[in-house]
Symmetry: C2
Subunit: 123 residues, 2 copies
DNA sequence: CTGTATCCAGAGGGATACTG
DNA sequence: CAGTATCCCTCTGGATACAG
């Protein structure tokens, strides 16, 4: 974490094959971080998630949840009750993932005046 | 950076207006981080950058450089010589930006086995 | 409640050719 | 050298309707 070190991906074709790249793209997609942030509070059911995140379509909710599950960032637990209930929750990996993501969010907040996109955004 | 704290964006419509969101999208786009990483070494000229990043088109190079410049992450310096020479370099803001980005990259590297996308990626 | 399937519009991004 | 302008194709993501 010092000043220099790490020559970073750079000059890439592996760009595609690099695990860092896929992680960055995941962070950049529209809903992943929002969903992970919601799940950071507690486990949620499907519709509950749908209602909690304004503007998120059921289609993208499904797709994003599947992607996050494949990455091992969240877990999906089916409770075969009537009606059926599914719980989505962060895994340990997901929790650890949120740390660097939050660092990035904090950076953005700390430098929002420098970034000139100074629209007010609470908390 | 403790365990809890920070309730994060969550349940959003401001999602769009939040500075953190735009930063995450920037991180997620295809070339920004690669270009910033290259510039972390030293200043580069336009064609020099083009040649250094395999697979990057001149069109996207221009667009990405403009975007990064507007964000204040890089500087563009025109030297009116013959032939003309332009230098792109990281700003202090750009350098500070790379810190959390690298943290994310290091996380990805550290957990690449957990992420199951275990294609070999050196450095 | 928890999804899947279809359709469709818009953004992202590559190839190529041209300009100061 | 340092770009701009077009064309075009793919991927993302929203709307809507249907299913277990």
């Amino acid at each position: 974490m010092s000043t220099a070190a790490i020559t970073v991906p750079v000059t890439v074709a592996d760009h595609e094959n690099c695990p860092a790249t896929s992680v960055l793209r995941r962070v950049g997609d529209k809903w992943s971080v929002v969903i992970l942030s919601v799940l950071a509070q507690r486990a949620y059911g499907f519709n509950e998630l749908d209602r909690s995140v304004e503007g998120l379509s059921r289609r993208m909710l499904t797709r994003t949840l599947r992607a996050l599950e494949e990455d091992g960032l969240i877990s999906r637990t089916l409770h075969p009750s009537v009606p059926p209930r599914v719980d989505y929750a962060l895994t340990d990996l997901g929790r650890s993932f949120l740390e660097p993501v939050r660092a990035l969010g904090l950076w953005a907040l700390a430098h929002r005046s420098d970034l000139e996109a100074t629209r007010t955004c609470d908390s």
